[in-house]
Symmetry: C2
Subunit: 218 residues, 2 copies
C-alpha cells in the first residue's frame, strides 16, 4: 500500500521526469541503503545543509547528527525541513562532455521534524539508528543509560511527502558521436568496507554480524 | 595564504568544536576529494537539499545538477545558498551505543551563487567539472558545442565563507565500559571503483587515465 503522497507539487520531479519514482517501496529501499543524509533547514534567512545519521522505521525517519545543537534550535520546533539521501552508483562516460552523467539513487523528504520525547521512544529511535548503520549492533553494545538518553536529541520526520530520483545504465550519446574514437561506458562505484580495525584495548573476536557487514560491502 | 574567512560566526563549528577546521588547504582538499555535494536553497519558505556535481577551481566552486531548473529559478539570482560535501570514511563502533560515531570529512560553504555567463567561462567551468569527476577526460571526450553550452546552466559559488569538520580514529569509550566484552574499533569505508563497463558500441580500449582512476579507487 503506497502511502507516500505521490507526487506532491513540491516533490514531483520536474527535470528528466522519467527518472522520478514515487512508490513507497522505492523510497524506502533507497533510504534503507544509505548511511548519511543531508538535512536542509533555514536559520535567520540562511539555508543550511548538514550531514546527519538517520534510520527509517516504518514511515518515520529518525535523525541524529553532530551539529544537532544548532539544528535543534529550530528544526525540532516544527519548521520546514528537507532531508535528502543520495547514493552514487557509478560514473557515466559519454563520448561528449555534454552527455556525461552519474548513476545515482536519491530521495528527498519534505516535512516538519519533531523532537523525540520520552525514554522509551528515544531508546527505540537510537537503537533503530545504530542497527541501521550496523545491523545487529544493539545485541552486543551497551544500550543508553537514562543520563545518556537525556543528553541525546533525536528528531523524527514522517515520510508523508517524499520522492525518489534515479539513473541507471550506460551513456546515451548523440547519434553522430558514436563514430568518435572515445571510450564510453560506466565505471561502477560502491561504498566498500575495509578490514575492521579493533581498538587497542579490544580483546573480543570480530562478531558474526560484523563479518556479515564487511562481506555485504566487499 | 589562507583566504577563507576563518571562521565566520555562521561557519564556526559549535558542537564538538575540536573537529572544526578553517584553513584553506583542508577545505580545498575535502572539496577536491568529493564527487557529489548537496545544495541547500529556499523556495517559497521551504528549504531544499539537492545533490549536484561540482568542482573547485582556485577559490570558486562550479555547480551543475540534474534538478538545476528548479534550483536556478532562485539560486542563480543571488539568493543565499549552502553547499555541503560529506565524505564518509568509516564506522566507529564503541562499547556503548552512546559513543558510536562515524569518521567523516565535511565542508560547508555559505554564499550567494551566480550563473556562469559567456561561452568561454561556461566551457571552462564544465571542463573543470568533467576533469574533477574523471581526471583527464576532457583530453578525450568531445567538448561542448555552442548549442550545448547554451542549453547548460552552471552556477559559481565563491569560497569566501567555508568551514570543514572531520573526525578520525577509533572509538572513545567511557572508562568503565572498557571492561565490557564488546568488539570495538573502526570499520573503514571507501568509495571504490569496479571494473569499467564499456557500452555496447564502444570499440576503444580503456585509456590510461581511466586505468589510473580505477587504480586510485581500488
Amino acid at each position: 500500500m503506497p502511502t507516500t503522497k505521490a507526487p506532491s507539487p513540491r516533490t514531483k520531479v520536474r527535470r528528466l521526469g522519467g527518472r522520478g519514482r514515487y512508490d513507497q517501496d522505492t523510497v524506502h529501499a533507497i533510504l534503507d541503503a544509505g548511511l548519511v543524509g543531508h538535512m536542509a533547514f533555514i536559520q535567520e534567512d540562511q539555508p543550511y545543509a548538514i550531514p546527519m545519521l538517520y534510520a527509517r522505521r516504518e514511515r518515520v525517519l529518525y535523525l541524529h547528527g553532530s551539529r544537532l545543537s544548532r539544528l535543534l534550535k529550530g528544526a525540532g520546533g516544527g519548521i520546514p525541513v528537507c532531508f535528502t539521501v543520495t547514493l552514487v552508483d557509478g560514473l557515466v562516460l559519454a563520448r561528449s562532455g555534454f552527455h556525461h552523467s552519474v548513476n545515482y539513487r536519491s530521495v528527498v523528504v519534505l516535512g516538519r521534524a519533531g523532537i523525540v520525547e520520552g525514554e522509551a521512544a528515544k531508546r527505540l529511535a537510537l537503537d533503530t539508528i545504530v542497527d541501521h548503520i550496523v545491523p545487529g549492533r544493539t545485541t552486543e553494545a551497551r544500550g543508553p543509560s537514562t543520563k545518556e538518553l537525556a543528553a541525546t536529541e533525536v528528531l523524527a520526520l514522517e515520510l508523508d511527502e517524499a520522492s525518489a530520483k534515479l539513473r541507471t545504465g550506460g551513456p546515451v550519446d548523440a547519434p553522430e558521436d558514436y563514430a568518435l574514437p572515445v571510450w564510453a561506458g560506466e565505471i561502477p562505484l560502491h561504498l566498500t568496507a575495509g578490514e575492521p580495525v579493533p581498538d587497542a584495548r579490544c580483546a573480543v573476536p570480530l562478531p558474526a554480524y560484523l563479518e556479515r557487514l564487511v562481506a555485504a560491502r566487499a
